[in-house]
């Protein structure tokens, strides 16, 4: 049985098919799914295309941001209110990948992919999951990623987060060996709201440093309540590797990733562009 495609209007119907058929996958942009078909990795099953416009909704003007799971990287880049997310969106593939790759698909992309998700993690994002009969369930992104590692998440409708505190409060760095387009050696996102020169509510997230994007909680603890001076940055670098579990792949070895992460974290915190 070759791969089938079903086109459905509503999310309810999509969710029902996904729940009933273990071989069914929701089609985002397809940059990962179609590649699996082309390479013969996926030779059977169903792709589900959901046309519900809620998946494409962008609510970016206010303090609370909501982005549909079907929003593409190109749509993020075209939206001026989302300028703080332009760096992670621009980091994904070339222009023709970005017109196709969705936020929803990025949440499921396996390491070393997941750069946009890394940015969302540092923004303390939540995901809205379809929960049957028009209902929805909101879950912290971190929890969703833990569930993903165990398999079985369900249908993601959107992601939500608060607009970052200020222009300089959100930083993103992608380290790649091929420029301008290359797969990540690693990526780092940092949300560093400051109050009278002291950081409060620091969020640091890494991409490609574990099986899913992950929070650097030890670094967050170091930063909390301190200013971004040399001593703080040095302490952050010392704590940088705690909780990481990088892999060796075609892009970099596990050793290399560990070796360079503290250096890049230090630069990001110091505001040096590398």
């Amino acid at each position: 049985m070759p791969v089938n495609v079903r086109i459905v209007q509503g999310l309810q119907e999509a969710a029902e098919i996904l729940a009933a058929d273990r071989g069914a996958r929701l089609l985002g942009g397809g940059t990962l799914l179609v590649r699996d078909i082309n390479e013969g990795v996926m030779t059977e099953g169903t792709l589900l295309r959901a046309l519900d416009p809620v998946l494409l909704a962008i609510n970016a003007g206010g303090a609370r941001i909501e982005l549909g799971a079907g929003v593409t990287m190109a749509m993020v880049l075209a939206n001026r209110d989302l300028s703080y997310l332009h760096a992670p969106a621009r980091g994904i593939g070339g222009p023709a990948v970005r017109t196709t790759a969705t936020i929803g698909g990025n949440l499921f992309a396996s390491t070393p992919y997941g750069d946009f998700t890394t940015a969302l993690l540092a923004l303390d994002a939540v995901v809205t999951l379809h929960a049957g009969f028009g209902g929805a369930r909101v879950m912290p992104l971190e929890e969703m990623l833990t569930n993903r590692a165990r398999g079985g998440v369900g249908l993601v409708i959107s992601v939500g987060f608060n607009r970052p505190a200020g222009a300089d409060a959100f930083r993103f760095l992608k380290v790649a060996r091929v420029r301008p387009k290359g797969i990540s050696v690693l990526s780092i996102a940092a949300h560093l709201p400051q109050n009278a020169g002291r950081i409060s509510g620091a969020r640091i997230a890494y991409g490609a440093m574990g099986p899913t994007p992950l929070r650097a909680k030890a670094v967050e603890r170091v930063l909390e309540g301190r200013g971004l001076d040399a001593a703080t940055i040095a302490a952050a670098k010392t704590a940088a590797l705690e909780g990481t579990q990088p892999a060796t792949d075609a892009i970099a070895s596990e050793w290399y990733r560990r070796e360079v992460l503290p250096v890049h974290l230090g630069r990001l915190l110091a505001g040096e562009t590398s």
């Binding site: 070759p2 791969v3 078909i37 082309n38 390479e39 013969g40 030779t43």
Partner: protein, 559 residues
């Protein structure tokens, strides 16, 4: 930007040329920019079938059984091809010019020798159906021990990769386990050199990664012929290979190609042509066999890995007096073209330098890696890289500027090369001078005035008495240490080596040369003398008949 230096070699060149030196539009350019250029895959056929192969997941294993019954019943499948369906299921590419033994099956028979080796081909109505059916082929294996390192593979008792060559080496001249070059007496020269250094260089396999992957469409044509749209870089080479493997008269094959979406050497192995044509014969329908990118990266033949060990003797004044190079080419599991790359490598020893004593030994070694093939500068890139890094190290060692060091040792017109050919149109000195000038690199007056047209020949044209040996006889690895014998020089006995007009020892303008404690320098006379050669004195060497010359008519294209 391109610049023609009219001042150099002005009298060797005709300047009234119509094309060279002028900008000319490529004849295929309009087709390229309008998207009308037809590559092998850009041909429509009704009823086109698609072929996919089942590949070995093991680097080395005995095949216990192959079960294709489920694949044959799968939706859309038109035909499954197995090893016994291939008329001549054993070939080596250069058999077309009588070089080497048939050693590679189109589809593996009782053993797989590298990961990715094709075992069964499945032909179906669509590509997805062919891929799905290929997954249903059941092959059971007994994994075998593997060898991946060239020097390990050469050891007596190593795992035998390819039974056609049980010593894991290609056999040269039906006599030796490697290709040799002998000129002068390196051992004697090492004993009198001021410094002797030995360094090891190696290079990993490199994938050509042309944007078009390997592939073929073959279709029945009128009068029992087959039309073949091929990606091959050497169309008639591929036609001959396909005709041999399928036991067809070559006039039953109508190959169309020459429009290659990038090759760089990666499209000379006929990876897809024979099976596509066989598929068309067996199904009576057009068959398309195209490698996916992952297949191409993992299993399309790369430039193979190489290792070069270079030992040099150099005098304090910068003259290199002896060079010994031992090279190992990793062919992977089958010969393909590596045997020829080795010959080219030896043809490039000892680099573009006049060195009075040279010894070269190059091995084409079989391991359980993906078979290697040609790539740009085939056989030459690795050894030349190694030689040039070595030149920098030597220059450093004797405290001479690296550019001047090259000018000092460069061959000049009229010099005798180690291959017993007189050097012509050498021009290396001028190249170095221009490079130095372009990069604002200060050269001494002497180096600036040096010329490839003067200072060569004369005593530098002599063939020295040469030490030969019977080391590395096929099947006798213990002879790799065979004692040398002296062969008199073809011309006068070796005259004292004449240095070109002396270049003053470089006064480093950039930075002082630090001492190099790591380079072992051998005190003169420390090594024991080799056994004195005993009569009978062998006959003078036969007129030079170098392998590279034999092949040059076949391989005149740059790859």
């Amino acid at each position: 930007m391109l610049e023609f230096r009219k001042d150099l070699f002005a009298d060797e060149r005709d300047d009234n040329l119509h094309v060279i030196g002028k900008g000319e539009q490529r004849q295929d350019m309009l087709g390229h920019v309008t998207g009308r250029t037809r590559f092998f895959d850009d041909h429509g056929f009704d009823g086109l079938l698609h072929l996919k192969v089942v590949r070995s997941p093991h680097h080395h294993a005995r095949i216990r059984s192959i079960d294709v019954s489920a694949a044959e019943r799968a939706p859309g499948v038109k035909r499954v091809i197995r090893a016994q369906d291939v008329p001549v299921n054993r070939n080596t590419l250069l058999s077309l010019i009588g070089f080497g033994k048939d050693d590679e099956p189109t589809l593996a028979v009782d053993k797989v020798r590298y990961k990715g080796e094709p075992i069964v081909a499945v032909i179906a109505d669509s590509e997805p159906e062919a891929m799905a059916a290929a997954k249903l082929v059941r092959v059971s294996y007994d994994p075998l021990p593997t060898v991946f390192d060239v020097q390990e593979a050469l050891k007596p008792g190593a795992v035998v990769v390819n039974e056609t060559y049980p010593g894991n080496y290609f056999e040269y001249h039906d006599k030796y386990d490697h290709q040799k070059l002998r000129f002068g007496d390196v051992e004697a020269a090492f004993r009198t050199a001021d410094h002797v250094i030995e360094e090891r260089y190696q290079m990993s396999p490199i994938e050509h990664a042309s944007t078009e992957t390997n592939g073929t469409i073959a279709a029945p044509e009128t009068n029992d012929r087959y039309v073949v749209h091929s990606c091959a870089q050497g169309l008639f080479f591929s036609l001959g290979t396909t005709a041999k493997i399928l036991a067809l008269e070559s006039n039953r094959l109508h190959f169309i190609g020459g429009t290659v979406g990038g090759g760089f050497g990666g499209k000379v192995d006929s990876l897809t042509e024979p099976l596509a044509v066989l598929g068309a014969i067996l199904t009576g329908r057009p068959v398309r066999y195209v490698l996916g990118r992952e297949e191409e990266m993992q299993f399309g033949s790369p430039r193979g890995a190489e290792r070069h060990v270079i030992k040099d003797g150099v005098m304090r004044d910068g003259r290199i007096v002896a060079r010994q190079i031992t090279s190992y080419f990793d062919a992977g599991a089958y010969t393909r073209l590596t045997s020829y790359g080795v010959v080219k490598c030896v043809a490039h020893m000892p680099g573009p330098y006049t060195i009075p004593n040279v010894r070269g030994d190059a091995y084409c070694v079989f391991t359980n890696r993906v078979p290697a093939t040609a790539m740009r500068g085939f056989g030459v890139t690795g050894v030349d890289f190694s030689i040039e890094v070595q030149m920098d190290k030597l220059a450093h060692l004797v405290g001479i500027d690296p550019m001047e060091f090259r000018i000092l040792n460069a061959y000049r017109d009229g010099d005798m090369k180690a291959h017993r050919r007189v050097a012509h149109n050498t021009a290396l000195i001028e190249c170095v001078q221009v490079a130095a000038q372009k990069s604002n690199w200060a050269l001494s007056e002497t180096a600036r005035r040096a010329s490839s047209l003067s200072g060569g020949g004369g005593p530098r044209a002599a063939i020295p008495p040469t030490v030969t040996d019977e080391s590395g006889r096929i099947g006798r690895p213990e002879t790799r240490q065979a004692p040398p014998q002296l062969t008199p020089g073809a011309a006068a006995p070796l005259p004292a080596y004449q240095a070109p007009p002396a270049v003053p020892v470089h006064q480093p303008p950039h930075q002082p040369v630090p001492p190099l404690p790591n380079y072992p320098s051998q005190p003169a006379g420390a090594a024991p003398l080799p056994p004195v050669p005993t009569p009978p004195v062998p006959a003078p060497p036969a007129p030079p008949q170098h392998g590279a010359a034999r092949f040059s008519s076949v391989f005149t294209r740059r790859r």
